[in-house]
Symmetry: C2
Subunit: 189 residues, 2 copies
């Protein structure tokens, strides 16, 4: 469901092609909503059928033709309704199969689960480094927009920072605990 509103949200900024939307998702929402291009094209069709958007084919000579979509009044209303519904369940109710693996960590040795957590921590650190490009990206895409529009983009980036930092700190604590257990075991032998 959310993909539809992500698309409507972007088209509410300005008309775009499917390809533009794929790029837009990749350079912003991807932090918390990864979208496949196949899914985006599918959703565009659905939204057009519902009358929330309408598309116009643009013939290009130097590039393949494209279809530029614009949001309709009905679409805008739907989008605003969604926006004003308030936070969804997933705000606090997140799903993580990774945490499920941690939960069942007792089936591994402390050394093995520490390894898993170390790999996780490394991934998080790489992710954090990746996020350093975000402020630039916000400036680039928001250069012709008012600040009151882009501070919300910054909010989501801040959230991401806190989230990842929390992951790294937590992983450190867990690894330390597991290492101390391992040492105790060695002493006992």
């Amino acid at each position: 469901m959310s993909l539809a509103f992500g698309i409507l949200g972007f088209l509410n900024y300005t008309p775009m092609s499917g390809y533009d939307l794929v790029k837009a998702f990749e350079s912003s929402l991807q932090f918390f909503w990864h979208a496949q291009n196949s899914h985006i094209y599918l959703e565009l069709k659905k939204l057009e059928k519902k009358g929330y958007i309408w598309g116009e084919t643009v013939i290009q000579s130097e590039r393949p033709n494209k279809k530029i979509f614009s949001i309709t009044e009905t679409g805008r209303k739907e989008f605003m309704n969604w926006l004003f519904e308030g936070a969804d369940k997933d705000a606090t109710h997140f799903k993580s199969s990774f945490l499920m693996k941690v939960f069942f960590g007792g089936n591994m040795t402390p050394a093995q689960s520490a390894d898993m957590l170390r790999k996780f921590k490394t991934e998080c650190e790489a992710y954090l480094k990746n996020m350093e490009a975000a402020p630039e990206s916000i400036e680039k895409y928001g250069y012709d927009m008012e600040t009151y529009q882009t501070i919300y983009w910054q909010f989501t980036v801040d959230y991401g920072y806190g989230f990842i930092k929390n992951c790294i700190d937590w992983a450190k604590r867990c690894i330390q605990k597991l290492e101390s257990i391992n040492e105790e075991n060695l002493r006992e032998d």
Copy 2:
């Protein structure tokens, strides 16, 4: 996919009925994997068909009959394979339609989005309070288990704490920022 492994993980502790599993999910994994009872019963059927678990009907006189499932050797192997695969993509790649709403907050007034964030913060605080019961729950379910099994349960709870606290702090910062913008606007009028 993950629900299947959650079930296998629990049955790896001890044989259980579908009903028991529903309860087990509610009192532990629900923090990061909410499971519908309908889904659990469906998954049990699939797992039995695959030969990962097997069920035995227990006739009860004072309560409805029940079917107790146990994990098979094949099932245990599958479970261990999953466990040793390491962290899944969703470890860093979380989805949140709530953050999507924040991202598009520019379509509301600062006062309106501050309101949304305030509601979110309240929900988080309630969630945090709810989590205070977790250590008790761990003791209750883990009283006959070795510590090295239950520290992993504690790890997931710690993660949850950090996650929610981060949400609350972040919301506070955002609300503050939005309030300061609102005041500036008022001064300009």
